[in-house]
């Protein structure tokens, strides 16, 4: 089961789709951001000036006159030099050399980076060692002095020589980045596949690897242009280029050598630097667009505002508007409410979580209601992308943008019977509440532990944050106690996460979750990353601790067999909704929803009779374009006409008598709706 799919859905649904299409040039879409457009406009402007400007300027930039050191005027837009040369003409003509050297040097350097980066990354082994060594040497050696001695050694200081010298010293960074990228691409499936089918190395590099690096190549190229223009300016300023050839750096050289400063002739030295900086800024702005494509986290940064979260919370206070089209109204009064018993500790009521970054909001968790009882385990199962992890994060209010809670309640019952809606807690109250009453164990302990902090300290700081009065000795004792509880030897307290095995790290996570003796622990696939033997140890540990300490657990996994074994009650999620709820035993004996039947039919039992493994046809649905009516109908073997038109809602099964709350079942399926028996043959077929 791919946990990465889930993670991607959790980050941004549109991201997966964009990548999924194999859109190798999708990064160009980054050019739509206003920042990038400003950048492009400026670069195009300077490019036009460089190309056509010298043809349009009638004044000879080198022509001397008696109008010396004139400040800017209508006749001399940027004033004149100490020999009466027109600075505006110099700027326009100089744009050509500055940009030409910058861009040509960057093209050459990027080509070098590509050759060396691709070769090193693809060939690996000794060629890689050698090429990496050479590029690292070029990176570490101070560029400018190197260019200076190179340029000093040249017989000619024309623009071409300078361009070549700059490109020789500017390729190393790009080569390093491209090497790393090639290394990671080389291990991808499509490259492995191409190699297995016997494609030539040349073809693999140019057909499979290179097209996937266009974004990075473009980013490297643009930053090299900036570097090259700056280097050219420095060299010209030092007098290492042919300063009779006008360039922006050359103008600065003459300004410096003619004491423009002491004449106070600001109009002489301000424009060249300003143009260089503007052009550099514009190129960087374009690069921001590309960067945000390469690293989507940067793009989300803009949305990750407190404002967004506040907005969502205030919306919760407002009366809820119906979001979608026709949906069956729950006719039986109480609905899930009839589940409640005196020992309810957490009630999730109509919780809805949306992803707001896409053009239309996507309901990752859609109107979910669940009940957790004291000392029990509520299991939630579903495929990747069903919204189960999003639900776990939402319950702890740890969901991250673009996820947003747009509706519902999270009613927590204190020991004294008073209740509180977790969604209505202020930030301060939430900080106090969380971990004290409700904690969470993340999926991957490796990612959830701070790699540079000793594990003992990571348990201890949770205690210190909530128990400011406890002294160091008390905290240390508690850390030791916790480590004993989860079965880690005390001497590992000063170990770093990387020094522990996967199972040990997950134990540390559980110790952290237990630190303040919470009432509820949400466990989001706590064993997924572990091997089967360790999984069992961890699950047994959790169950042992639960019985000993009496906390309640919301256990989320895709491993239905494990879930049935350890849960009291099970909820099945599909496309962000709960499609079936019931006691684990009842559910296992007699799954009602066709999706649950499919899930149970997709793994073998160890003890039961032999059966044909069926599985579920098709793939999890795209949340942005769910089918009308029941979201499962396109994969459902029993779908009938009503399924396409009416959205089913979770309803208690009418056929079950009500001896105890634990045996109550709810299903979201038209097959069990007595009012929708228009095609009875199918429904009976399921019952058999």
């Amino acid at each position: 089961m791919s946990t990465t799919t889930l993670a991607e859905v959790d980050v941004d649904p549109s991201e997966t789709a964009a990548r999924g299409k194999g859109a190798k040039f999708a990064w160009i879409s980054g050019f739509r951001s206003p920042k990038t457009i400003v950048g492009i406009v400026i670069v195009v402007f300077f490019a036009l000036v460089a190309i056509f400007g010298p043809l349009l300027v009638t004044t000879d930039p080198s022509a001397v006159s008696f109008n010396v050191l004139l400040p800017p005027s209508a006749k001399h837009l940027l004033g004149t030099t100490h020999t009466g040369q027109d600075i505006f003409a110099q700027m326009v003509v100089g744009a050509r050399i500055s940009m030409l050297v910058g861009f040509v040097a960057a093209v050459l350097a990027t080509l070098l980076s590509l050759i060396i980066g691709l070769a090193a990354g693809y060939l690996g082994g000794i060629p890689d060692e050698l090429l990496s060594l050479v590029s690292n040497i070029f990176l570490v050696i101070p560029t400018l002095p190197l260019v200076v001695i190179l340029a000093g050694a040249l017989p000619s200081t024309g623009s071409l020589s300078i361009t070549i010298v700059i490109s020789i010293t500017a390729w190393a960074w790009g080569a390093r980045v491209l090497r790393a990228q090639t290394l990671s691409l080389r291990k991808r499936d499509f490259v492995e596949a191409a190699r297995a089918t016997g494609e030539s190395t040349f073809r693999i590099i140019f057909r499979e690897i290179l097209p996937n690096q266009t974004a990075i190549v473009a980013a490297t190229f643009l930053s090299t242009v900036i570097g090259a223009i700056l280097t050219q300016a420095s060299l010209a300023f030092l007098g290492l280029t042919d300063v009779t050839e006008w360039s922006w750096g050359g103008i600065l050289y003459w300004a410096q050598n003619s004491s423009a400063l002491s004449f106070g002739a600001w109009w002489w030295f301000v424009p060249p630097g300003l143009c260089i900086a503007l052009l550099g800024t514009a190129l960087s702005l374009i690069n921001f667009g590309i960067d945000e494509f390469i690293n989507p986290r940067l793009r989300l940064a803009g949305i990750a505002t407190k404002k967004g979260a506040k907005k969502a919370l205030t919306r919760l206070q407002a009366p809820k508007q119906p979001i979608r089209g026709p949906r069956r109204q729950a006719r039986r009064t109480g609905g899930l409410g009839s589940f409640t018993r005196g020992d309810v500790i957490l009630e999730v009521k109509n919780l809805t979580v949306d992803y707001t970054s896409a053009s239309a909001p996507v309901h990752a968790v859609d109107d979910v209601s669940l009940t957790l009882r004291r000392g029990q385990v509520l299991g939630i199962a579903g495929e990747s992308g069903s919204g189960k992890s999003t639900l776990a994060y939402a319950i702890t209010r740890l969901h991250r943008p673009p996820a947003e809670i747009t509706g519902g309640e999270l009613i927590y019952t204190n020991r004294d019977g008073s209740t509180v809606d977790i969604l209505k807690l202020t930030d301060r109250e939430l900080t106090d509440f969380r971990w004290e009453e409700l904690s969470i164990v993340f999926q991957s302990a490796m990612n959830a532990l701070n790699p540079i902090l000793r594990v003992g300290a990571q348990i201890e700081d949770a205690i210190a944050a909530h128990r400011p009065d406890m002294d160091a000795q008390g905290r240390s004792d508690r850390v030791r106690e916790l480590m004993g509880l989860v079965g880690i030897s005390i001497d590992r307290v000063s170990a770093y996460p990387h020094e522990l095995s996967g199972g040990m790290r997950q134990r540390v996570m559980i110790a952290i979750a237990l630190a303040l003796d919470p009432e509820i622990i949400v466990m989001d696939e706590p064993t997924t990353a572990l091997d089967v033997v360790i999984q069992r140890q961890i699950v047994e540990k959790i169950m042992e601790l639960k019985d000993r300490l009496g906390f309640s657990v919301i256990f989320i996994t895709h491993d239905l067999s494990m879930l049935i074994e350890l849960s009291d009650e099970i909820a099945i999620m599909y496309a962000g909704r709960i499609v079936e709820v019931g006691s684990a035993q009842e559910f296992y004996r007699n799954p009602k929803h066709p999706y649950s039947q499919g899930l149970l039919g997709s793994f073998p039992t160890l003890s039961g009779p032999k059966k044909v493994l069926t599985g579920i046809v098709g793939a999890p649905p795209d949340l942005r374009s769910l089918p009308s009516g029941c979201p499962f109908r396109t994969r459902c073997p029993h779908a009938f006409d009503a399924c396409a038109t009416i959205e089913p809602v979770l309803l208690p099964l009418p056929t079950v008598e009500v001896p105890s709350a634990n045996e109550l079942r709810s299903v979201s399926c038209h097959l069990y709706d007595p009012e929708l028996t228009r095609v009875p043959a199918l429904a009976e077929g399921v019952a058999k």
């Binding site: 060594l133 050694a153 600065l252 400063l261 993340f442 540079i452």
Partner: protein, 325 residues
């Protein structure tokens, strides 16, 4: 330890490559550079200097290996030849005079701009999505500024127009150099403008890098867990997000040092600062090849040493690198 030895070996190889480049470059110059130079200095150079010059450009009867060994031999004896422009001052003397100034100015400024830029970058990354994001276009602009040009601007504004600071030089002429308060005060006063130019134009580089790393780190699970645990913002920002985001920044610092230092030393030219950047400028102007070589050598060694320090810090900050095999 193994990783450390590997790095050490890498620096040795890099130093060797730079030194060998220094040896080879003059020999690759086409034509007869020695005659060209002798013509330019018409007769000012003594026979010893002419001999040294021929040696430098490989115009001796020895084969290239003998020359190479001889080159290393002179290097180990601290013999970088004689400067043409300040003939007959040895190159080492000129470098010796300039180095303390450059180490003081460029060294302090580079470290300061890294520290300030990284700290600001961490804050801007932390407060992403708020008004602080408007810093980004400004810092982008600052990173695209040629260092020396910004030097011209600050001189124009603060020295020429406002007369707040001295125009140029490293200290007021006439004061006896030494540890007198008068001299130190004068040095500090003269260093403020160049420092401002260097720090302002290099700070954005670190700020933007750290901001991006910070944003990437903030979406790590361990930061989320730290917030969930109810830790103070300060602890999440420093111990969880900041320290982890700093690691790549520090690695980047080591690699970018060569670029930054190269840019900064030119700033000395604008201020006529008595460091080796200004000496390099004068060497270029006078085509003083031995001096250029000597300066390139010393800057490379300084950058490598700084890299070593950065590596050492990295090892202190990241326990994963300390793992014994």
């Amino acid at each position: 330890m193994k990783a450390f030895l590997r790095r050490g070996l890498f620096y040795l190889i890099t130093a060797w490559a730079a030194i060998t480049l220094n040896f080879l470059l003059p020999r690759l110059i086409p034509g007869d550079p020695v005659s060209r130079m002798l013509a330019r200095f018409h007769g000012q150079l003594g026979p010893n200097a002419v001999f040294a010059l021929r040696k430098l450009f490989g115009q001796t009867s020895d084969n290239i290996w003998v020359q190479y060994v001889d080159y290393w031999n002179r290097l180990f004896h601290g013999d970088f030849g004689v400067s043409f422009t300040s003939y007959p001052t040895p190159v080492t003397t000129i470098i010796g005079q300039g180095l303390p100034w450059t180490l003081g100015l460029i060294g302090v400024c580079t470290v300061l701009s890294f520290v300030i830029g990284t700290a600001l970058g961490a804050l801007v990354g932390w407060k992403r999505g708020t008004w602080v994001d408007s810093f980004i276009p400004v810092t982008t602009f600052l990173t695209s500024i040629p260092y020396f040009w910004f030097g011209l601007i600050v001189v124009y504004i603060f020295a020429l127009q406002l007369h707040w600071f001295p125009l140029s030089g490293g200290y007021t002429p006439g004061i006896q150099p030494g540890w007198s308060p008068e001299f130190v005060g004068s040095v500090v006063q003269h260093a403020i403008l160049p420092s401002l130019a260097i720090i302002v134009s290099s700070i954005g580089y670190w700020l933007l890098g750290m901001r991006n790393m910070m944003i990437t780190t903030l979406s790590e699970d361990y930061v989320l867990l730290a917030q969930a645990k109810g830790l103070s913002k300060r602890r999440v920002l420093t111990t969880y997000a900041g320290r982890n985001a700093l690691l790549p920044s520090l690695a980047g610092f080591a690699l970018s040092l060569g670029f930054i230092v190269g840019g900064s030393i030119i700033t000395e030219v604008v201020f006529n600062y008595p460091g080796i950047g200004y000496a390099l400028f004068q060497a270029v102007q006078g085509q003083d090849y031995p001096l250029m070589q000597g300066i390139f050598f010393i800057i490379t060694i300084a950058v490598l040493a700084a890299n070593l320090v950065a590596d050492f810090l990295y090892v202190i900050l990241d326990p994963r690198t300390r793992q014994e095999a």
